[in-house]
Point group: C2
Chain length 291, copies 2
């Protein structure tokens, strides 16, 4: 395991890694680096980090792992900042929700040390963010995807996998491109659709009346529309191509459903709803106690 | 309060009314009528009804309230069946999710007794259905909307309101048309969008991989896609015009969001997500402990 870990961005994601590792018999020393002194002091106060550091050279001294858990748009700048201070033994990983862009950033910024970078994506989250949202059990039973390149050091991949397994996660490997296509479909698309629905209603003259009678179905459908706007702007732009394809495919699916309704096609609507409902309930059964 | 209530369709909605009323000091006698003998026997076994009846004349003898809580497509047939047996003192109400259609059915089938019919819609539900899903506290704090016509007997409206209040609900009145427009937006549209998303993914060649990595955001967004297909086919067709308008408006909203993404309009995407996220979180705060 690692002896000194430097976390950039001690919020829900980074802070939860820290809390999980602190339960190990020999926890690593954890240094937090962040944009906001307020967040760092909060993370220190909550015991998420052992040291708060603003000097990058000091932070990276003897670090054997750097975890970048800041909003993904900051990743290139962070990589650029740390590159001059990286030893040959420091592994770098991230927790960003998009991976093709991050792998390109790492290749561009880390140069000959690109082989020390392991792209990662923990499939865990909550609508809350910030240090106070961190939980030691956030990753238990959750999927973490690593996206190594042909150049990536195999030992580095194994050690990052071991880190996440120590947090209770189940680790899979995938290419960055395959990762981004999968998450455009199952995560990024639903987020954008939920934002669009809430905005569609919120900007109407009768929004107050509509929201008064919105109930549990609306609540669950729109929960992810309460997510962090900056993070989702960054994800949408970072995974633009795959997401545009998904938006296009989805709008076609909605148009086909709309035609069934226009034609009073009761058998067609029933078949669509019945198939979707069966697929959704089978999925939920397969995931019981897993998500 | 009522002395004898006849419930058509003793599932989640009708069964939960029954369980709530059974907590009153002087609960009414409750007779269940249903399509399926199996459901009726199950309802009897669970104590949801006092009597199971297949003979409509017997069921309606001395009934002072008939509650139609069957799938909404059955409402005209039920009204036709009960009409010959209605006394001048029997109030008829329903629990359907659409109201313009139900009010028209009632006008057509009940003739001179249309004034005894009070359209109603309890805003409560769950993805489970059937007698075993019934809960005594389902309606506590929930909205129930009544949609009286100019012809509707005012005392009947008051008595149906009192019934729902006895179940713990908050009762509002609205025109059938206004009701259907509101629920097309806040309920029927999200249901259709969730069905469409699950179906869009479920029919792909890599559905298994996609579902493996779908997590909590997908789970909540698609919970309502696990809903009863027959019920949602009926709702969609019954509220066709309002729903087609909503689908059209939503597709425009998604297209506008897509243009922001195509143009890399980071400020535009941020503004949309930020506004939606604020509206959604304020809504959730206003609803705490209410939904």
């Amino acid at each position: 395991m690692f002896k000194k870990i430097v976390i950039f961005g001690v919020g829900l994601i980074g802070g939860s890694v820290s809390l999980a590792l602190k339960k190990l018999p020999h926890p690593p020393h954890i240094t937090g680096v962040g944009r906001s002194d307020h967040s760092l002091q909060e993370a220190l106060g909550l015991g998420l980090i052992d040291t708060a550091e603003t000097n990058i050279a000091n932070a990276l001294t003897d670090a054997d792992l750097v975890l970048i858990a800041a909003p993904v748009a900051q990743t290139p700048a962070i990589l650029r900042t740390i590159q001059p201070h990286l030893s040959a033994n420091t592994i770098i990983t991230d927790a960003g929700s998009t991976k093709s862009d991050v792998m390109s950033y790492a290749k561009a910024e880390l140069g000959s040390q690109f082989n020390q970078f392991v792209g990662g994506h923990p499939i865990a989250g909550a609508e809350k963010s910030g240090p106070s949202a961190a939980m030691a059990d956030l990753y238990i039973g959750k999927n973490v995807i690593l996206t190594p390149d042909a150049a990536t050091d195999a030992d580095a991949v194994k050690r990052v996998a071991a880190l996440w397994q120590a947090c209770g996660a189940v680790v899979s490997n995938m290419s960055p491109q395959a990762h981004d296509r999968v998450f455009a479909a199952v995560s990024h698309l639903p987020h954008l659709l939920a934002f669009a629905l809430v905005e569609d209603l919120a900007k109407r003259d009768n929004a107050e009346l509509l929201f008064k009678f919105a109930a549990s179905g609306f609540r669950d459908f729109t929960r992810i529309a309460g997510s962090h706007p900056e993070m989702w702007r960054d994800i949408a732009l970072a995974n633009k191509q795959a997401l545009l394809e998904e938006l296009n495919t989805y709008q076609q699916a909605v148009s086909e459903m709309t035609v069934l309704l226009e034609n009073n096609d009761d058998a067609g609507l029933f078949a669509l709803f019945e198939h979707a409902s069966r697929a959704r309930n089978e999925w939920a059964k397969s995931k019981t106690n897993k998500t």
